[in-house]
């Protein structure tokens, strides 16, 4: 399918605009996504670094607070009385001292134990006193400064605490102070980002703290960035067993995905809008360019020799305007050429008619002239004159009548529809008799079983006269003869006109139907073209066969059955 200029313009514009736009969009999105991801990962790494430092700082801070508490307890006389001297009146003070100290120190977990590991006072579980649990202090003492996770017991349930250890000596008695921070509290202090999640990867347990609840499941999975921040230990409060593990932070990737989706949400519509704008622009521009071209083409399609009023007026100053001006100029020249051509045609038509009239009149006068010659030959013999006149009077009347009808037809420039039942043999006999005035005899061979033919007798006579005339002319006054025969065919009537004249070559035969082509010095060259036109007008067929030196045969056939009368005979102007 041929592509229109508008489609080509549209596609071209799209290629020029859309391809760079798409490439730019893809590149920009990739770059934005890469930078966002890079910044997100750097932020997560920075937060992990902060968490690592904060974890160490908090661990040291807890150790520092425990050291201060130990110093304070050593100075506390009531504590000394209760813990060392076991003064009963100070026992309530002893039971509450850890609670108060824990709150003052900002801790979540605090136990004071004697040298046997018996809990003297518990800050996070006030009524936990008297329990014997030496394992935790012993384990913490072995770990030193490594952050340790201890499962702290409270009446409401256990919690995990990051714990450190300190001790104090009162006389001969030694006391340990175990304290720490609630893991969740520690996580909140580590970083302010609620999305950050702290994970303790222990040999057979993965503990996680912090992070938004909705994202808790993403901790440690492929949906989160996981970064290692250091070593951590877990201490069993019952057995003192220490398990070493790694502390990690996880940062969910969902916000990053949301960020990317946000980029896409704004980016893709922007690109789509730009693309749509480009398409609309392309449509508008292609329409702007192709519409005047299409208008010029439509105007050009209306150009005809009879329709030379088409204009290509345009007030544009671009190439389209130049093209319109050129077409308008060309149209002006075309109008002049058409006028000249019509004048030439008119003149040619007048000459053609004049030649045809001349030809037809000459054909009509020939039998009359032959009769007059015949009369003239017997004029000196009155008895013969009367006989000849009586014999040839019909020929004269027929020829005159023919000329009258011919004149009438030419006067109307349109033949009347003179279709009527016609006696073909009678008509042929008149033609043969008319031509027989010359020395040469036209032999007439009628078929008596010829069916009646409904046709225009005048046109049929002109056909036969032209054919007989041409046959006689081909004899060149020499020997030989002309034969006019009628035959009944299965479909109608056949008329043969044959001669034994000089015949025609193949080239001559091919050109014989061209108007004004003749091999005779006085010929008009209209005989055969007129015959062909008349036969065609009468609905018959016409063919000519010829052989140089042996003669020519013309055959005309008219159908009888089914022969239709044209509503209007073609008129040659």
């Amino acid at each position: 399918m041929a592509m229109t200029m508008r489609l080509r313009l549209l596609l071209g514009f799209l290629v020029v605009v859309a391809v760079p736009l798409v490439l730019f969009a893809a590149g920009a999105r990739h770059e934005v996504t890469r930078r966002v991801t890079d910044q997100y990962e750097r932020r997560a790494a920075a937060l992990a670094g902060v968490a690592r430092a904060e974890l160490e700082r908090q661990s040291e801070a807890v150790a520092g607070r425990l050291a201060a508490l130990a110093v304070g307890l050593a100075r506390d006389t009531r504590f000394r009385l209760a813990a060392v001297q076991r003064v009963a009146a100070e026992r309530p003070y002893l039971l509450d001292v850890a609670t108060d100290a824990m709150r003052l120190a900002g801790l979540s977990y605090l136990q004071i134990q004697d040298t046997t590991g018996r809990i003297l006072s518990s800050g996070h579980f006030r009524n936990e006193y008297d329990r014997l649990e030496p394992e935790v202090p012993a384990a913490l003492a072995r770990l030193g400064s490594v952050a340790a996770i201890v499962r702290a017991r409270t009446p409401d349930g256990p919690f995990l605490a990051f714990a450190r250890l300190d001790s104090l000596q009162l006389g001969t008695a030694r006391f340990t102070v175990v304290g720490g921070l609630h893991a969740d509290t520690l996580v909140q202090r580590l970083v302010g980002d609620p999305d950050l999640r702290l994970m303790l990867d222990l040999p057979d347990t993965l503990l996680s703290f912090g992070g938004s609840p909705a994202r808790a499941d993403s901790g440690g999975s492929a949906d989160a960035l996981v970064l290692d921040i250091g070593e951590v230990a877990s201490v069993s409060p019952l057995t003192g067993t220490v398990r070493m593990g790694r502390a990690r932070v996880s940062y969910p990737l969902e916000p990053l995905r949301v960020l990317r989706r946000g980029v896409d949400v704004w980016f893709l519509p922007a690109v789509a809008a730009a693309g749509a704008t480009a398409v609309l622009l392309a449509l508008a521009l292609s329409a702007l360019i192709s519409r005047p071209v299409r208008a010029l083409a439509e105007a050009a399609s209306r150009i005809d020799l009879d329709r030379a009023d088409v204009t290509f007026a345009s007030d544009r100053r671009d190439e389209i305007g130049v093209l319109a001006q050129l077409l308008q100029t060309m149209m002006g020249r075309l109008r002049g050429d058409a006028a000249r051509l019509r004048e030439a045609e008119r003149r040619a038509a007048i000459g053609d008619v004049a030649r045809q009239v001349n030809h037809d009149v000459k054909n009509g006068l020939t039998p009359v002239r032959n009769v007059f010659r015949h009369l003239d030959e017997v004029a000196a013999e009155p008895e013969k004159l009367a006989a000849v006149y009586a014999e040839r009077r019909g020929t004269i009347e027929s020829g005159v009548a023919y000329l009258e009808r011919l004149a009438g037809n030419y006067a109307r420039l349109a033949p009347t529809t003179g279709w009527q039942p016609c006696d073909v043999n009678g008509l042929a006999r008149d033609v043969a008799a008319g031509a027989a005035a010359d020395a040469t005899v036209v032999r007439f061979e009628p078929d008596d079983a010829l069916p009646a033919l409904r046709t225009d007798p005048l046109a049929l006579r002109r056909v036969m006269e032209n054919l007989v005339r041409n046959a006689l002319d081909s004899l060149d006054g020499g020997r030989g003869g002309v034969r006019l025969a009628t035959e009944a065919t299965p479909n109608g009537v056949r008329i043969r006109v044959s001669d034994t004249g000089r015949g025609m070559t193949r080239e001559e035969l091919d050109r014989a139907f061209e108007p004004f082509y003749t091999t005779k010095p006085s010929g008009s060259g209209l005989g055969l073209p007129i015959v062909r036109r008349l036969v065609a007008d009468l609905g018959g067929t016409f063919r000519v066969t010829s052989e140089p030196g042996r003669g020519t045969e013309a055959v005309v056939e008219f159908p009888v059955a089914g022969t239709t009368v044209p509503a209007t005979l073609p008129v040659r102007r």
Partner: protein
Amino acid sequence: LTCVVSEVGPDPADTVRIALTEAVSATRAPVPSTDAEGLVFRQLYEPLVDLDCDGAPRAALAVAWRPDAEGRRWTFSLRAGAAFWDGTPLDADALLAGWQGSDSTVVLEGVRADERTITVYLTEPRPVEFFARPALRVVKRIRESPWPVGTGPWWLGGADTSAVMLVAQPTGLRGRARPLAFALRPGADARDLFDAGADLVVTRDARARTYVDGRAGWVVAELPWDRTYVLASPALGDGTSADFTPEFRAGLARDVVPGDARAATGSGAIGCDRLGTELPDRPLQRRLVYPRQDAAARALAERLVARADLELATIFAPPRLRGGLVAAGLPQADFDAARAAGMDLGYVYPTLGEGAPPCATPLVQTRPLAFVREGSARVVRDTTGVRILPDGPWR
């Protein structure tokens, strides 16, 4: 009198200021559920008979009483002019109407013999002290106010009641009295109330006594041991007992419960015969539940949890019952519902009086202390708390 805590001074303030550290609800009047309600209701509503600080019956609405031989038919002679605040005379019908819903199952009928004599029939024999119970205080319920109408020297109602202050106006029916202003400060530190100018504070906060001890101008009255904290595990079934040693109970009283406490004595049974009631087919919750607002119950529950693998080992066997045991404080209504359902391992809660209910073993007993600013009011103590008397003669 040993029952007198304080006498009014020569130049008392216009109002007696009483500070309360708990909420007060009129819907429970005249039966208190907290120390604050006990203090308020005690000033407003009177029983037929009072008990003094030694438990001896004393005249209240009734000035004389006489039982029949079985102790099931009691005849009370009312004091002259005994009437409700609104002037309605006190009769047997009003008496019984006020008792509806309390201990009326014991009280069968009341018959008014004449203007000053009422006869009460009981379903079972009871001593006269029975009529001193808070549930048998004489009240008349009215539509206009959530506060029942009483017969005492002070009338509480109308615009004088709010979430922060209850003002009881003298009825003028008996004696010369000043208004009582109850300041509602739920959860407040009793020491702050002293400093804020309260004339009377009743609290179980041990820090209050330490704060007041040695300071001039204050009188401290030890009130009766009116609460016994118990442990109940009804789900364990009848026959389950807790063999707490006296030393353990003493330790609870000494080290665990804040305020004045002493070891309780009594049965070790904590399971309960549920009389054929089928427990729901679901596992017990491994928690010791206590009423959230009760600090002593919380401390006791925590201590039991801390010692679950020691003192409770023989009770909560097998060990799976003890593992992961926690203490859980519930609002009072939720606690009551949970205890009724019985699907927790144990319940620690206070009961009124010195005894323990069936299916529960007593742990410790506590008592409140009344702190009275000297000379601020006439205050006496009895078996139900402290009572403020009108400044002048009132009987």
